[in-house]
Subunit: 225 residues, 2 copies
């Protein structure tokens, strides 16, 4: 990392370097195949020091998840300025999300793939972050519905479903973009924005999709509040 | 299952009963906590017979994933009639998907949650199904773009991204719907259809989201083919 290491380096700094190295190795190799030797070597410290600071491979992995989940949530939050129009907020949030996941592909792999593959305790850590992001998106949609002056507002349950759909779409698209050479963060954000905004916009204004050839028995219904 | 069990029951039938029981127990308890005793008891057979037929807990779980993945893919495929308009095909496909996941919540839990939590081999099984569904959705979008007579067609890469987004949205919404009392398959399908169709429709016709307040430096771009 271009930092000169010395014995007098503060513990907090060393710990961050260990986490940097661990995210790299976990993201590249997967949790099972990652070796503590390799992590220590990349961090430029001895393996016993990693155990002294982070306790175990499990605890080290949990610390990685927590740090990277907080960083991703923070990136999305600071990317959005609530004084702007709500479509611009959604665009800025998507762009911040895909920029962060494309700049930190190993971190995204740890959060989206590795943490889910390796046990319920890790999944619970990631789900806490996911709930925060879903709550944030839900709030955006609620504000959008209010701005559209629709009365009654979009039912709470439909908003919750939309937020889940949007977050699921973003997660899936980020994983695909990171695995597909040449896809930029801006392209991913544009794909999802174009996909999502028109649909959301129509819903806000009470114009759901109406099929031409659907009989009464299979026509879609709006969720009633 | 209301079936009279006898020693002369064919192996294939017994095996399906074991898988029925295993999906129930794995879906309810999770892979780790599920006990082979409980699975055997629910299937109405002895534990040694489960091991004789399915070999190990791991192999039993893999057999569950394969069977349920095939059943879900089949439900979506047979729900769609390719002679109908493409928006109707998407609606029918979504309705088939959410109907299947809501009728078989334990199977969906095995595919979407359990298989991902418990190791890379299981994830690979689920990913094979996911790729098939993404390919199916991609084809739908390609046909829709062709029907819209847009020239040049929607770039291949953008279609791939849209299919990933739509599948991710459906997965996320199905998990939420199954965890939220009172949400019907029809409501989930309507939420996603309303969300997705207007956006897709606009894209087909070359009308992307255009922000009011975005400067050139941060305007979204279309992916060029």
């Amino acid at each position: 990392m271009g930092v000169v290491k010395s014995k007098r380096m503060p513990r907090a700094v060393r710990e961050q370097q260990m986490l940097d190295a661990a995210v790299e190795i976990f993201g590249q190799r997967g949790y099972m195949a990652a070796s503590m030797d390799e992590i220590a070597e990349l961090a430029g410290v001895s393996k016993p020091l990693v155990y002294l600071y982070l306790n175990s491979k499990e605890d080290l992995f949990t610390a990685c998840i927590r740090r990277e989940a907080a960083a991703l949530t923070e990136a999305v939050r600071t990317g959005v300025r609530t004084e702007l129009p709500v479509d611009r907020q959604l665009w800025d949030g998507l762009l911040a999300f895909f920029t962060h996941t494309s700049l930190h592909p190993h971190a995204w792999s740890v959060l989206h793939l590795q943490a889910r593959i390796h046990g319920e305790a890790f999944v619970a850590e990631v789900n806490a972050m996911r709930e925060e992001i879903v709550a944030f998106v839900t709030q955006l949609i609620v504000v959008a519905a209010r701005e559209a002056h629709r009365d009654p507002d979009l039912p709470e349950r439909e908003v919750a479903g939309l937020a889940e759909a949007l977050v699921g779409a973003a997660e899936s698209l980020a994983a695909w973009a990171n695995a597909t050479p040449g896809v930029t963060a801006r392209q991913s954000a544009a794909t999802l924005m174009n996909f999502a905004w028109a649909g959301l916009g129509n819903l806000m204004e009470g114009r759901p999709w109406i099929p031409e050839a659907v009989g009464a028995e299979s026509a879609p219904v709006q969720v009633s509040g």
